[in-house]
Each structure stands twice: as C-alpha cells, then as structure tokens.
C-alpha cells in the first residue's frame, strides 16, 4: 500500500557515518561500571587482529573498572575529605583521577606500539566523555 503521509522535512534521510572513524561503544551489560565493548568494529576488520583488539580493550577496561571499585583506600580518602569539609579535594587528586590518568598513558603507549604501526589512532576515552573509544583510520 502506498504511503499517504510524507516524511517530515526535519529528518535527513542521508545520515552517513564518518568513513575514517570507528567507534567502540560502552558495554552496560554489567551495570553502570566503566567498560567498553570488546567486539571488533566492522571498519577495523582486517586492519588489526581481533585478539589484539580484544586484549587492548580488555586492559583498558581493567583500569577503568578499578577506578569505580570501592576499595578501603577510596573510602578512607572520601572520609578524610568529608572531615575537611571537602576542601581537601582542592589540593589532592582522587583515586579515580589517578586511574583515568593511567588509562591516558596506556592509550598513548598503545598508539605508539599497537595502533600507530597499523595507521590507526585511538582517542583517549576521557576526551570523549567516557562515551566511546574513537579509533581513527589514518590511511584508508
């Protein structure tokens, strides 16, 4: 049956994803913990072996999950900050920030050793608000 109502003009029927970027989305199957999907994006098929990609994302996930785990040191740090009226946060770095910092360093190393030689570049997820891991294909 032919449609009688036209599509609204505001919707663009030609949304094209960027050709030179692959995105790794968040994996919420374990809850709200910081974890990215280890599934190899279609654009990276053939550019990087799947086991290497899985191991890279797995290692990043390990660091990120550790950031959100409530350990004794984290609780002590928060209690101490609470007792100072949270003024301590103005001069001290939280455990979470240290974990994100180590993730940034890890991403830089992976860019140097794993992605760079394959003409790929991984963007630190902190730069993308921890929404996605963006991988740029430098050469088609």
């Amino acid at each position: 049956m032919s449609s009688s109502k036209p599509l609204p003009n505001s919707y663009s029927a030609t949304i094209l994803p960027p050709a030179n970027k692959a995105f790794v989305p968040r994996d919420y199957s374990h809850g709200t913990e910081l974890r990215f999907s280890t599934e190899l994006p279609a654009k990276l098929q053939g550019r990087i072996p799947e086991e290497v990609f899985t191991a890279v994302i797995g290692n990043i996930n390990q660091l990120l999950i550790a950031a959100e785990t409530g350990s004794a040191s984290v609780y002590l740090e928060s209690c101490f900050a609470c007792l100072t009226g949270y003024l301590a946060y103005l001069c001290m770095e939280t455990q979470y920030e240290k974990c994100l910092r180590s993730v940034s360093r890890l991403v830089e190393e992976y860019n140097r050793t794993v992605f760079g030689p394959r003409n790929l570049s991984m963007i630190d997820p902190s730069e993308r608000g921890l929404r996605v891991i963006e991988i740029v294909l430098l050469r088609p």
Partner: protein, 410 residues
C-alpha cells in the same frame, strides 16, 4: 583557541572561567544562602554573647564549625558539575543515527518516529536505553536529561532550585551532607536560641521582657523551626533512598518498585543498606568529564597526538585542516604532576597490564615485519614494545609536554 567552557552548548551557567557550573537561575539559591548566613550571623553575634559566658565558649565555636561545614557542602553542591555527560561529537552522532531505524510510514499511512531505544540486560534486569537527540548519545542507565539545564546527567536525582543546580552522581553526597548538617545545625540553633531566651528570662524574671530584649533570638528560632520540618523530612527521605540505592528520579518513576512488579529488581543494590550508604556517600568520586579548562581542539586535532608521539602516519585531509597544536591537550598525561612513588606505581600498573597483553598476543603480529615484536613474560623487550616501564614513560616524558591543567570543576 577557545576553551571548552566558552563553547559549552547547554543552559547551565559556567562561572570562574570554567571552574564552576550551576543552573542559570540562582534566585532561590540566594534565598537559601541568605537565610543560612543571616540567621547564623544573628545567632553568633547576639545569642552567643550570653551563651558563651553562661554556658561555655564551645557553644559559639561549635556553631561556627557547623556553619562553615554547611556552607562548604552547599557551595560544593551548587557549583560543582553534577555529573554532566558531555555531548557527543557530530561524528559520533552520525554513527549512532545511521544505525537507528529511521522514521517510517507504515501500511496504514501512520508515521512512526525513528526508533531510539535499545534493550540492555544488566544483572538479570532488562533496561531500555534511550538515545538523547539533544546530547547525541545513548543515555547510560540511571542517567536522565534535565530540561532546565539541557544536559544529560549521570545518576540524575532531581533539579533542586534551593541549591541552584541538578543533583546527580557527582554532587549527591554533598547535597545529602548539606541536608544532614543543616538539620543538625537548625536543631542546634533552635535549641540554643531557646536556652538563651530561658536564661535571659530567668535573669529578667519576665519572658516577654526577654523576648523584647533579644528579638533576634525569636527570629532565629522561628527560621530554624520552620526550616527543620522541610530539611529533616527531606534528609530522612534521602536516607531511605540511599539505603535502597535509588535516586529520586527512579523512585518517582517506580523503576525499582517491587511491590508493583516483583521483577523490577534493582541491580545496583548491594544487598545491604549500610553497604549502599558507604558506596553512595564515600565511594569513588568521578572527576568532571566536561574538561572545561582544556582547549577546544576540535575533532581532528587529536590525530596530532599520534604524529607527535608515535610513528608518523598520513594525516587525512579532514584532520589536517584543523589546527594542529604542538602540545597535545590531553588532560591526564601530565606526568610531572605526580611524585615519583605515584608515577612508579602507575607505571608498575601499566607494566602489569602490558604483560597481560604480551602474554595473550602471538609471538609476532602478522604483517608487521619487525616493528612490533613481543617477548613473553620477563624476557628482554624487543623494539617498539613497552619494556621496562620507566624507560617508556621516560621517553614519553620528554615527548609529552602537556600544559598542567589545574582541577577545573570542583
């Protein structure tokens, strides 16, 4: 080059050059602040004169300490990032929206809007994730979009006009402690205000005379009395929510209301009220993801990080057209900030995780020539591999000269 706070698209108010963020309309917050500050000043200036002399000087001291704590919690709640999820880049939006089933017209000629829900199973419970067309992202479970501030906020509780900000994941503990400390402080002021009046009336032998002599006591007692009802009530409500690991938003929507539907389990509940309290109030603090103090480097310039640090690849035309900065503005790569112990610990951590990867990788990656060769276990490192962590980080140190960025959002 503009800073990120200068190009922030939401409706929140950014203050102190990106160090603080609050709602645009702060008029009710000013009322809250005025009530607390004026009542406290009146109490400390007038009531405490007699109380310090008659009872103990610790009475005004304790009042001052509580007053400062209440103010700290209030200001932290108002001016900190509640857990705003930064908006998706246009590329991300294009990628997600290309996967969404577009709007269609079905057989009856009815228009069906684009499908923007996806199911995700979390610990035995199915959640529907929504795609936020304003923020161009898949909203995480527990996040919600605040229409007042026009942001998606993680673990959104509610938008509170009294504190002039959304209450979300990052500032919920400050909000709760503000409520509790204000409850205690209101009670303290009311009790000692009454004690002051009683002492004065004993001295003057006439209660009405005492009231006329100290009208500020009457005022502070009334303010405290009327505040207690709402503040203590709200504090009790939030205590209950915390013990159940639920937010106000989820409570209103009945997301975890097992009385209505037994299968609406709360997968975030740790099973124990005390454990939930500890996690919500003293658990890990997420830093602000907005990175307001960083330069707005645009989408392609992050590629400059690779060309500066690693091997030079051919930068695509799109990337080359954006400004390439010599100093990549990566927030967390300021290696000089940490002391040596912290650095070596983190490097140790990086080492371990790389050993994990080196164990799982094949001995030689196919098609790589001799660029990336991995040695397992504690073997001598080969070229291009993270070896002794200190060496790699040392090399990184000389390459990465990122500007030290002070904590942007409190």
């Amino acid at each position: 080059m503009p800073k990120r706070w200068e190009v922030y698209p939401g409706k929140s108010q950014v203050l102190c050059s990106g160090r603080c963020i609050s709602a645009k309309n702060l008029s009710v917050f000013y009322l809250t602040l005025a009530l607390i500050v004026i009542s406290s000043c009146l109490f400390l200036a007038f009531d405490c004169r007699l109380l310090a002399v008659t009872l103990s000087p610790s009475v005004p001291v304790l009042a001052a300490v509580q007053f400062i704590f209440v103010l700290c919690c209030l200001l932290r709640t108002t001016f900190s990032d509640p857990g705003i999820i930064p908006r998706g880049t246009p590329d991300e939006a294009a990628w997600i929206e290309s996967q969404l089933e577009g709007p269609q017209v079905d057989r009856d000629g009815n228009y069906r809007p684009p499908v923007r829900l996806k199911d995700v199973q979390i610990n035995g419970r199915v959640f529907k994730l929504k795609y936020c067309f304003t923020c161009k992202l898949w909203r995480p479970p527990r996040a919600s979009h605040c229409s007042t501030c026009d942001n998606c906020v993680d673990r959104f509780d509610h938008h509170c006009p009294w504190v002039g900000n959304c209450v979300g994941r990052r500032n919920y503990r400050y909000f709760y402690l503000f409520l509790i400390s204000l409850s205690v402080y209101c009670l303290y002021v009311m009790v000692f205000g009454i004690v002051n009046l009683v002492l004065l009336s004993n001295m003057r032998k006439d209660f009405l005379m005492a009231m006329k002599e100290s009208p500020t006591s009457v005022l502070t007692i009334l303010v405290a009395f009327f505040s207690i009802w709402s503040v203590v009530g709200l504090g009790g409500f939030h205590t209950m929510l915390i013990c159940r690991e639920t937010s106000t938003n989820e409570d209103i929507k009945g997301s975890f209301n097992q009385r209505r539907h037994p299968d609406l389990i709360n997968p975030f509940d740790q099973g124990n009220g005390l454990a939930n309290c500890c996690y919500v109030l003293f658990g890990p603090v997420t830093p602000s993801l907005l990175n307001f103090r960083e330069d707005e480097i645009g989408l392609g310039s992050s590629i400059s990080l690779v060309t500066n640090n690693g091997r030079n690849g051919t930068v695509s035309a799109a990337a080359a057209s954006t400004a390439v900065t010599a100093t990549p503005a990566v927030r967390y790569s300021n290696l000089t900030r940490n002391n040596n112990d912290a650095t070596s610990n983190s490097v140790g951590h990086v080492n371990n995780s790389v050993q994990v990867i080196s164990e799982s990788l094949p001995a030689q990656l196919p098609g790589d020539g001799n660029d990336v060769i991995v040695k397992n276990g504690n073997g001598a490192p080969a070229d291009g591999v993270i070896s002794g962590g200190t060496d790699a980080v040392g090399a990184q140190n000389s390459n990465t000269q990122s500007a030290s960025s002070v904590h942007c959002i409190v």
